[in-house]
Symmetry: C2
Subunit: 284 residues, 2 copies
């Protein structure tokens, strides 16, 4: 992607379309360094994206104007149209990058967590999620705020990939250390056969390799986590003042305890489960 050759306007009438394939990720067979032109083009695109991101960070997604970007780059608006056929497209790329950064932040939070941290790693991940959202509120709004006009998460696009990574982290930290048998026997309400089947063979989204009841729990946990963050970032819980950290952490710890309570203790209770014990009285 990222190569909308000459936007929509048909300048350069006889287009070649020859080397309009991916230029950024160097996906071709030959690892040969991309043409100088391609490098320049990539650099220009990067410059535009950086400027756009800066503008979003400063003034929010709604205030992002192509003219402002062009101005801060010392070029004309129409130059931008050579790289991005529309504002929508530019935003779409920024959304994808946002998901990527968010996923990286969460992953990083988990990775750099103190090995002897008293905090369960799922909570560490959740707090990484929240921290990124609070540190980049405007970008977070870009991701999870009112969807852009006509923008439907492109299936199979880079967005999906990052979302998969994100859910992968939470899935891992939430369920790692439990056997498939345990997860298959989580204590949940019965799911309809149709739903079970649907959850079992979720084509993508990285949720496929989990027993349906566990997937259901994961989704609920995602909702809980995301709901609290969304409410906070969008200012709906401002009445909590600066206690939001504690409210959030408490909620996450409680949630983790509740979920783990639903996973039956069975053959073995591996180390991860020990490390994750949420400081709640274990089931008798």
């Amino acid at each position: 992607m990222l190569d909308f050759p000459h936007s929509t306007h048909n300048l350069c009438p006889r287009q070649g379309g020859r080397r309009t394939v991916a230029n950024m990720p160097a996906e071709e067979n030959a690892p040969a360094p991309p043409t100088l032109r391609q490098r320049r083009r990539a650099a220009a695109i990067q410059e535009i994206l950086d400027a756009a991101e800066r503008h979003i960070t400063d003034n929010g997604p709604a205030a992002l104007s192509l003219r402002a970007i062009a101005r801060s780059l010392g070029m004309t608006v129409q130059a931008l149209y050579y790289y991005f056929p529309s504002r929508e497209t530019l935003l779409t790329v920024l959304v994808a990058k946002g998901y990527d950064d968010l996923a990286a932040a969460v992953q990083n939070a988990v990775d750099t967590a103190a090995e002897d941290s008293a905090l369960p790693r799922l909570v560490v991940a959740a707090e990484g999620y929240r921290r990124w959202a609070i540190a980049n509120p405007e970008r977070f709004k870009l991701l999870y705020g009112t969807p852009l006009r006509d923008y439907a998460a492109p299936a199979g696009g880079p967005t999906t990939e990052a979302v998969r990574r994100l859910s992968g982290v939470f899935q891992r930290e939430l369920f790692d250390g439990f056997t498939a048998a345990q997860l298959a026997a989580v204590d949940t309400l019965v799911l309809s056969p149709g739903l079970r089947a649907h959850l079992e063979q979720l084509p993508q989204s990285g949720l496929g390799d989990l027993p349906p009841p566990a997937t259901s729990l994961l989704l609920s946990a995602w909702g809980n986590l995301h709901g609290l963050v969304v409410l906070e970032v969008f200012g709906h819980t401002s009445f909590l003042g600066d206690h939001q950290d504690e409210i959030f952490r408490t909620a996450m710890l409680n949630m983790l305890g509740d979920i783990h309570r639903r996973i039956p203790v069975q053959v073995t209770k591996p180390r991860a489960a020990d490390r994750m014990k949420p400081r709640l009285p274990p089931p008798p």
Copy 2:
């Protein structure tokens, strides 16, 4: 509110400012019918609001343009400015009305629920919330999507009132039937003294009359409910297809079970608690 006399532009230089008090809600001492002019003004405002709401329902909040409203009403743009000093203001009123309608929908769902419904009333309320959001996605986005520029929920405004009503319903259905002693002793992680104090005397928002730990649970529940709805309405869980109903209901039932599990059985276990039993094994 709703009386921005003649917008910001200073036409009619020598303004009286005499009868610019509330005209819509007839809050005055005399129940005398408002002036004919006032009635006309109120009707015009209502007409504008209706048209605006229609436009939002059809094309989303972002696409709402004053000119479009004026066009569909057969007037000029500037006529609108006589009733609303800015687009922001108009949207703010619509937001308030949105909260009101949402709260009413939830309340109505609870009220009209079959008395012998197998579904706990909290879940009925939650499904009312979700149903409204799905039935009015654009208006829901207006409420909980990216906040409007410079729009901070006006403290004490009508918005807050509706939010209080909303949280009141959930608080009631979640905790009704339990004694204050029970709620004060819910099995949660310890809250810091500062947070306890803050939660105890929440000035408004209708959360004040609940023991801090219960408030914390209520907030988490709100997050869970809202998070799932937000993810669905904004299209982030489209991979679930038409199983979202079941996912949502299951999550809410599980959540209710988890929360009630944290409320100790004590002196009495009143009827409401029985009616609400979430079909989960009761604590041993």
